[in-house]
């Protein structure tokens, strides 16, 4: 279960609390730029596989894939990677429901996998994702794309493609809302 979901759920009762840092058009532009950066870095769309981390990472991965398809005219495989059972705090909290893991038909062996998530914070989700991928195949390379990097890493992990660097204090909460899940696109901080 993507932790951001928990945050968003606090806000679904009324209007999202706090200051909007990205609105729908900002998110749109950020994803377009990330799509171009992925293509530039990879020198095209060959061997690319996008894996979103549920739940909102999957929606972001699909949007990026759609933009890449517009630019390159080539469909690239999109999937999802659930990291629940690989979390380092699995034992510390009640057993959680799983989200779907869907690996595209071609697999990930020798592919360039771009992991997509909404917010990069401690880095622990990404470590779990790397472990989960280890049981599925051996990509040629793994890249990381996130909509928001809010800092405060616990682990030596960084993103290759960032929508927005957002300096935060650890007391603040960042909420990503996407139309597919929440009815609107926004990133708020409070």
């Amino acid at each position: 279960m993507a932790p951001t979901h928990e945050i968003a759920s606090h806000d679904t009762d009324g209007h999202p609390e706090g200051r909007t840092v990205l609105d729908a058009r900002d998110i749109d532009r950020a994803l377009t730029r990330i799509s171009h950066e992925i293509l530039e870095r990879n020198k095209g769309s060959h061997d690319l596989v996008l894996l979103g981390i549920p739940s909102r990472g999957v929606g972001l991965a699909q949007r990026i894939a759609a933009r890449i398809a517009q630019v390159e005219g080539a469909e690239i495989p999109v999937g999802s990677l659930d990291i629940t059972m690989y979390r380092d705090d699995l034992r510390l909290r009640p057993a959680r429901a799983l989200s779907p893991t869907e690996i595209p038909g071609g697999g990930i062996d020798d592919k360039v996998v771009v992991l997509v998530d909404d917010v990069l914070y401690s880095g622990r989700t990404i470590r779990s994702a790397l472990d989960a991928m280890n049981d599925i195949g051996r990509p040629r390379a793994v890249r990381l794309a996130v909509l928001v990097d809010r800092g405060h890493r616990d682990l030596p992990i960084r993103a290759d493609f960032v929508g927005k660097n957002l300096p935060t204090s650890m007391a603040e909460k960042v909420a990503v809302r996407l139309a597919e899940y929440d009815g609107e696109d926004s990133v708020t901080i409070r």
Partner: protein, 330 residues
């Protein structure tokens, strides 16, 4: 808080649906090169089998191993259990060995309940079949197999046919399938209906031919000769003529109707070979699904700091909407 799975009646509809959804994710694992997940690393699961079983024990063992648990198999034959050790002493031994979960099959109805509630051990207890009482994980895998073929079970008509009296599978299925909104009809000779069946909330019939054309699922039960200390029907031939599923009866089913059997089946008795091997038969698939469903049960009971089953905790654990301070730890 429910620590154990002793009866299909322990499960609310939310619980059952959570298990089936989780099993769906576990099922996908069978198609991957590495069929292993780390969720139960370092946990010890004991298979405690006082009664012969092949598929259930193997299924639980495969499920626990795929979740990276350590598995200890204990069977009555060739252990102190055959020397007359009591269930209590066995439980104390398991506790001393640090078992996190005990999967118990016992010839006595209620033995898992004793093991769970007598205060002998703190382990999670999962009932893998007790006497003629219950077999909840079999009912879960049957429901899972049905939903994969038919979608949601609301309003679906399910016929359970045969030796209902001795069948823990029938009892668990009758409870669980009704929890999931299905209509259950038990079909059996009058001598093989259990006492008190009118309180189960199911329909009953003696006439298989009348029930078959209306059914979405036909589940055949094995005639449990080893539990019969009386003559319940005149002859095997007469039983199979009246209550056996053969090609002629199969032809009266609707196109989408599936045929199930919990195994082990006696070909020629309750089901003929051509039916068991037909396209409608999902008997082999039931075995595959058994591993996925048992993985889901083990994960939900043992995977976290506390079980995910039990109505009071659903708001937090099952939906992921946990009121914690953790956020955005991507």
């Amino acid at each position: 808080m429910k620590n154990h799975l002793l009866s299909a009646a322990d499960l609310t509809r939310d619980d059952a649906e959570l298990i089936l959804a989780t099993a769906g994710e576990m099922r996908a694992l069978a198609d991957r090169p590495i069929k292993k997940l780390p969720a139960l690393r370092g946990r010890t699961v004991v298979n405690l089998f006082f009664e012969d079983s092949t598929r259930t024990r193997m299924s639980f063992e495969a499920a626990a191993k795929r979740l990276s648990a350590d598995v200890i198999n204990f069977s009555a034959k060739g252990s102190s259990l055959s020397k007359g050790e009591s269930l209590k002493d066995t439980a104390l031994t398991l506790e001393a060995m640090g078992a996190d979960a005990v999967i118990v099959r016992h010839w006595a109805s209620g033995a898992p309940h004793n093991l769970a509630n007598a205060g002998w051990a703190r382990s999670t207890v999962i009932n893998a079949g007790d006497g003629t009482h219950e077999h909840p994980t079999q009912a879960l895998l049957d429901a899972f197999t049905m939903t994969r073929h038919l979608g949601a079970l609301d309003g679906r008509r399910i016929a359970i046919v045969g030796d209902v009296l001795h069948s823990r599978v029938a009892r668990s299925n009758a409870i669980l399938l009704q929890t999931l909104g299905a209509e259950v009809t038990l079909v059996s000779p009058p001598t093989l209906f259990p006492y008190g069946v009118e309180t189960w909330g199911v329909q009953t019939s003696y006439d298989l031919d009348a029930v078959l054309p209306k059914s979405d699922v036909v589940m055949m039960l094995r005639v449990q000769r080893e539990r019969m200390n009386d003559s319940y029907f005149p002859s095997a031939r007469e039983y199979s003529r009246r209550y056996g599923l053969d090609a002629r009866r199969m032809a009266t089913l609707q196109d989408h109707t599936i045929v199930m059997h919990p195994g082990p089946m006696i070909r020629g008795m309750e089901i003929t070979a051509d039916v068991a091997d037909s396209d409608r038969s999902v008997i082999v698939e039931q075995v595959t699904n058994g591993v996925a469903v048992r993985m889901a049960v083990l994960y939900l009971l043992l995977g976290g700091s506390e079980p995910a089953l039990g109505a009071a905790d659903h708001a937090q654990s099952a939906t992921g909407a946990e009121p914690t301070t953790e956020e955005n730890d991507a």
